[in-house]
């Protein structure tokens, strides 16, 4: 159980949110992508033990999407940033 710092609502229980999974996955051009590239885009994931950039949605609150950088071992939240921003350098 975690407290998620929603950029709009402040700290809320994770039960109010849904996690949208790994962030910054770039969709290849379907017209030119090979099957392997398309499979990689659809299914392959980093799934790191440690720092993970991910998308969260405040389903039972402001209903907005945003990014979080979180450690998947101890759930420490290292950064919170806008859904339009790219991953912060410092947090890996």
């Amino acid at each position: 159980m975690m407290l998620i710092p929603c950029p709009w609502c402040g700290d809320r229980l994770d039960a109010e949110f849904t996690c949208g999974g790994e962030a910054h996955i770039v969709r290849p051009d379907p017209a030119t992508a090979s099957d392997a590239e398309w499979a990689d885009y659809l299914f392959m994931r980093k799934n790191p033990k440690g720092v993970h950039h991910e998308r969260w949605f405040h389903a039972h609150g402001c209903r907005r999407w945003f990014h979080i950088t979180r450690d998947t071992v101890n759930h420490r939240i290292l950064a919170v940033y806008a859904i339009t921003d790219s991953a912060p350098e410092a947090a890996g």
């Binding site: 299914f43 392959m44 998947t72 101890n74 759930h75």
Partner: protein, 415 residues
């Protein structure tokens, strides 16, 4: 020493002090024919069948913790084979059949108990889904029959089949040959037999790197030094992505915490296993008398064996409504395991683009039942350098070809 009545009697006058240890605790050698990463049930079964079926005994099983301390020792021990698609049905049925004779085969009581597994339906859709799966199972020669609420109540009198609860029981389906087994015993029995064949089970030995030269594996780096082998089979469950990345591979799995718990022990009240996908509750009773209860996964990636308390609360709410007598029992222990979930809720038992490197993962929330079957086909895959007919479809390549094996109905909630 064989575990037999004769040896039991012989040891009795000596106060059972002379039983030999069940397996050695060897130092790693410099090289092996095959290295297995992960001494969970699947890894140990792989080593056992490599020796028994393929004559390969120069094998090391490397384990970062203690054997059976991963999901093998953390699961709720349900064994069944009522899966929807032919590919899964054949694989899980093969495993169930191995379970039926595993105690004799291993000379170790794995306490396989075919006490039946019932899946509940709480709405029209559930009923249709169970009927469809029942038909599919029977076409594959697997028993799976519909049961009415009355019949369920007769089998398990503690269930509440009142129509006035939030999710009433409209019916269910039962696989009578399914049941459960003692999870630790499966790991210990396999370890003991593999060890007898000469397999080195090396605990407290974490694999930290995989050596790849010209697209071929040559060995591993571990916390106890480098070990060489030309064939490496990885069976690391929740750590599949971590281990695969050491060989430069990406996998379609994500790791989540899955929780379970037991109540204080009580007299026998339920002698079958009952699961409900809709309210995410499942229950059985251990030989010690504890009610064994399974919860769901946390909804985000995690490598922590500690899950969210809200997931447990959610499961207990449904439990108290379906089985009102449990509402006054204490929960004794709750724990979590890290499960590796694949997009189609089916495992990956496959060769990889790196020659000599094989992966067996993606069992997610439901791989205990597959322990012997998984080891059996993985041993074949490693020994022959090609999959067995039973695991051909469970390749890494299916994510590229699109031939997914969608078992969310049979596997996503029910374990």
């Amino acid at each position: 020493m064989k575990y037999s009545l004769w040896n039991l009697l012989r040891q009795a006058p000596r106060g059972h002090r002379d039983w030999p240890q069940a397996w050695r605790n060897p130092e790693p050698k410099e090289s092996y024919d095959v290295i297995i990463i992960g001494a969970g049930g699947h890894g140990l079964a792989t080593a056992y069948y490599l020796a028994k079926e393929h004559g390969i005994t120069r094998t090391a099983v490397l384990e970062k913790g203690w054997l059976g301390g991963g999901n093998t020792g953390r699961n709720t021990t349900i064994v069944r084979s009522n899966y929807l698609w032919d590919e899964s049905a054949h694989l899980y049925e093969h495993s169930l059949r191995l379970f039926e004779t595993l105690s004799q085969d291993l000379n170790f009581n794995v306490m396989f108990s075919p006490r039946g597994v019932i899946n509940l339906a709480h709405n029209e859709h559930d009923l249709k889904e169970l009927r469809r799966r029942g038909h599919a199972c029977r076409l594959n020669g697997i028993d799976y029959e519909m049961v009415t609420p009355r019949e369920i109540k007769e089998i398990a009198p503690i269930i509440n089949i009142s129509r006035s609860i939030r999710y009433p029981v409209l019916g269910g389906a039962m696989q009578r040959r399914a049941g459960n087994a003692r999870h630790d015993a499966v790991a210990w029995g396999l370890a003991r037999r593999a060890d007898e064949f000469g397999v080195d089970i090396i605990q407290n030995c974490e694999v930290t790197g995989i050596d790849v030269r010209d697209g071929r594996v040559t060995g591993v780096q571990t916390t106890r030094g480098a070990i060489r082998a030309n064939r490496i089979g990885a069976v690391p469950a929740g750590h599949a992505s971590v281990v695969a990345s050491m060989a430069g591979l990406r996998l379609p799995v994500e790791s989540h915490t899955l929780q379970a718990m037991v109540t204080e022990p009580v007299k026998p009240v339920i002698d079958t296993v009952i699961m409900s996908n809709t309210v995410h509750v499942y229950i059985s009773q251990s030989d010690k008398g504890e009610l064994v209860l399974g919860a769901g996964i946390d909804g985000y990636n995690s490598y922590s064996q500690k899950g969210g308390i809200n997931v447990i609360e959610h499961q207990l709410e449904g439990l108290c409504e379906l089985y009102p007598i449990v509402s006054r029992l204490k929960i004794m222990r709750a724990w979590g395991g890290i499960v590796d979930i694949a997009p189609d809720a089916s495992p990956i038992i496959s060769k990889t683009p790196v020659e000599g490197f094989y992966i067996n993962c993606g069992w997610g929330t439901g791989g205990f039942k597959a322990t012997p079957g998984s080891g059996w086909v993985f041993a074949h895959t490693i020994a022959q350098d090609r999959p067995h007919r039973l695991n051909e479809a469970f390749s890494l390549g299916r994510f590229e070809s699109g031939l997914l094996i969608d078992e969310h109905g049979a596997a996503a909630v029910a374990h």
